[in-house]
């Protein structure tokens, strides 16, 4: 376990030196504050509207941003170490491949968590102090869940990056595939589902269809931040509205989305020719 923490600490330090941490934190803080105060500008009002509105618009924006940041942060994890010759060296140390991967996950999740907590947390506090008639408990619940689910979403894409990173032999290839994965989950998948829905004129099994959303981690993230407000989603997510997904079920499926890619990444790392 000590070696896991040593690797995690090194990753965290690397993230600080690269200015990754500062950059992500700033981006999150600006977005969160901007959305909470000007999010309802499109409907003609300025200022804080409601917790539900703020969190929903935050989650629909972060669905694009967070996976991208996580992928960019983590794609060099294995292939980068390999290119620098440090992977070869590390494996001659009393450190197993599992510990290495776990340490990386811990370190890079910490970077993302710190950025998320500070970035969105500051927006949450600014609402608490400056907005009128906001219930603190309600606000903290909503933002707390939002932050936790955002961290989980980040972890999912970090683990997906590890799969790529331990599979391919060149860093540039890993970057390319990471972008394709992002594009697929953020845009293509939902469009495909909508296409399916339109093509079948809605004749598809209504019981099964919502579950297809669970095959896309970004949709699960949005669902998590919808179920608490009992509001109906817009667009594709509206099909899930009649279907009652429990929060626990959604969080569990996010965890599955972490464990499965992580295991696959570990398997590829073991098989990787050194």
């Amino acid at each position: 376990m000590r070696s896991v923490f040593a690797v995690a600490e090194k990753e965290l330090k690397d993230g600080l030196r690269n200015r990754w941490l500062i950059a992500i934190t700033l981006v999150f803080a600006v977005i969160a504050s901007g959305l909470s105060w000007f999010g309802s500008a499109s409907v003609g009002s300025i200022g804080f509207s409601s917790i539900a509105n703020t969190v929903t618009s935050l989650s629909s924006l972060n669905v694009f941003l967070l996976p991208l940041i996580a992928l960019l942060l983590a794609y060099p994890a294995i292939v980068g170490e390999d290119e620098d010759g440090t992977l070869l060296l590390l494996l001659t140390y009393p450190l197993t491949k599992g510990e290495l991967l776990l340490g990386k996950l811990l370190g890079q999740t910490s970077i993302l968590s710190i950025a998320t907590i500070i970035g969105f947390g500051s927006a949450c506090l600014s609402i608490l102090f400056f907005a009128d008639d906001v219930k603190a408990s309600e606000l903290f619940n909503a933002f707390g869940l939002f932050i936790v689910s955002a961290i989980l979403l980040g972890m999912i894409f970090i683990c997906l990056s590890y799969v790529i990173s331990s599979w391919v032999s060149e860093k540039s290839k890993a970057a390319g595939i990471a972008l394709i994965i992002w594009f697929f989950f953020v845009l293509i998948y939902d469009m495909g589902l909508l296409g399916l829905l339109v093509a079948t004129e809605g004749q598809i099994e209504a019981d099964v269809f919502p579950y297809l959303l669970l095959f896309n981690p970004t949709d699960i993230f949005r669902l998590v931040n919808l179920v608490t407000f009992k509001t109906n989603g817009t667009g594709l997510l509206s099909i899930a509205s009649d279907q009652s997904f429990s929060l626990l079920g959604l969080i569990s499926s996010m965890l599955a989305w972490i464990i499965l890619p992580f295991s696959l990444a570990y398997y590829r790392l073991v098989k990787r020719p050194i």
């Binding site: 000590r2 070696s3 040593a6 600490e9 090194k10 330090k13 690397d14 030196r17 690269n18 620098d84 010759g85 440090t86 070869l88 060296l89 590390l90 494996l91 001659t92 140390y93 009393p94 450190l95 197993t96 050194i274």
Partner: protein
């Protein structure tokens, strides 16, 4: 018990045979030089000893255990490795990099500082590694390799990028560790200067062990001539007839001749009885000459086989390159 034992080890990647029936032994406190051209199988051999690769055939034992087995992990505290071309973590400082590796081996901060001092990086220790020169990275690499005062040290091209003084200091560290009982494998294609620090030589060529043994033993195996340089006043023609060899002379007035090992003593005796002799030096074949001899004869063997229609070969070109002193 041998620290390292390789028995009939072969390694194949797909259809390509990289190593062919290698037998090696390394005892406690021994230093072995592992030489060979690029692609000869040096790094593959190292990787098998480190347990990063499993041999396709044969057995590898390190400390009497199988290094590729997961149980081997606790032996890794006793192994130091300096890879070729390692660029470390560019964003971290020298001390941070060493601290990271030290934590993995449960080594204290004091030891890190002491090592940085020993390799001459104290002043640069708070600078980022990306500002380091090749030689400085190499010294940092050496520091991480000897973090635990290892029982087994594997060094891949350790002196690349080091200036002559740093090289000298490096060999001092190697000698010290050897005296403490550390077994060392020194992998290189840079040969001058290495000879007096090693007990054993293993020369790999095209995946085969072309030569193996002490430098002295290898000299005996070849009949490469010993060179004798001498100076003084002589009747060269008479002397040449007497010794039955050709004598050459250079611009500084030093004469030299080459003589087979078994005639060396007789020749020296004859020279010493010459009244005009002022100085005399003998040069037995050095490691570099032995290396070329073994590599070329091994490749000649292979190309002979290939002319019998076994392997299509470009060995002829390689030999010509090697003769020009090309080390690749």
């Amino acid at each position: 018990m041998s620290i390292i034992e390789l028995k009939n080890v072969s390694q194949q990647f797909d259809q390509l045979s990289v190593l062919n029936s290698i037998n090696l032994n390394l005892d406690k406190g021994e230093v072995m030089g592992l030489f060979g051209h690029n692609g000869a199988g040096k790094t593959t051999t190292m990787k098998m000893i480190l347990g990063l690769l499993k041999p396709s055939a044969g057995t590898v034992r390190v400390f009497g255990e199988e290094p590729a087995h997961s149980n081997f992990n606790h032996f890794r505290y006793r192994i130091g490795f300096l890879p070729e071309n390692v660029s470390f973590y560019q964003q971290l400082t020298g001390l941070e990099v060493l601290r990271f590796f030290a934590k993995l081996k449960k080594v204290s901060l004091e030891r890190c500082l002491e090592l940085l001092e020993q390799v001459g990086l104290t002043e640069a220790s708070s600078r980022k590694v990306k500002t380091y020169s090749k030689g400085m990275k190499q010294r940092l690499g050496l520091a991480q390799a000897i973090l635990t005062e290892p029982s087994l040290l594997l060094l891949d091209e350790p002196t690349v990028g080091l200036d002559p003084i740093a090289t000298q200091e490096f060999y001092q560290i190697v000698d010290n560790l050897k005296n403490k009982g550390c077994s060392i494998i020194l992998c290189s294609h840079v040969l001058p200067g290495v000879e007096k620090h090693i007990d054993k030589v293993a020369i790999l060529s095209k995946g085969q062990l072309a030569a193996y043994g002490s430098v002295q033993k290898l000299r005996e195996q070849t009949s490469l001539p010993t060179k004798i340089n001498f100076s003084g006043c002589f009747n060269i023609e008479e002397l040449s007839n007497k010794l039955n060899t050709r004598i050459t002379t250079n611009q500084e007035g030093i004469f030299s001749l080459e003589v087979a090992p078994n005639e060396k003593l007789q020749t020296v005796k004859t020279l010493l009885t010459q009244p005009g002799i002022q100085d005399l030096d003998t040069f037995p074949p050095n490691l570099e000459q032995l290396y070329y001899h073994f590599v070329i004869s091994n490749q000649a063997n292979l190309s002979q086989k290939s002319s019998n229609g076994e392997i299509p070969s470009t060995t002829g070109d390689k030999i010509r390159l090697l003769r020009k002193g090309e080390k690749s």
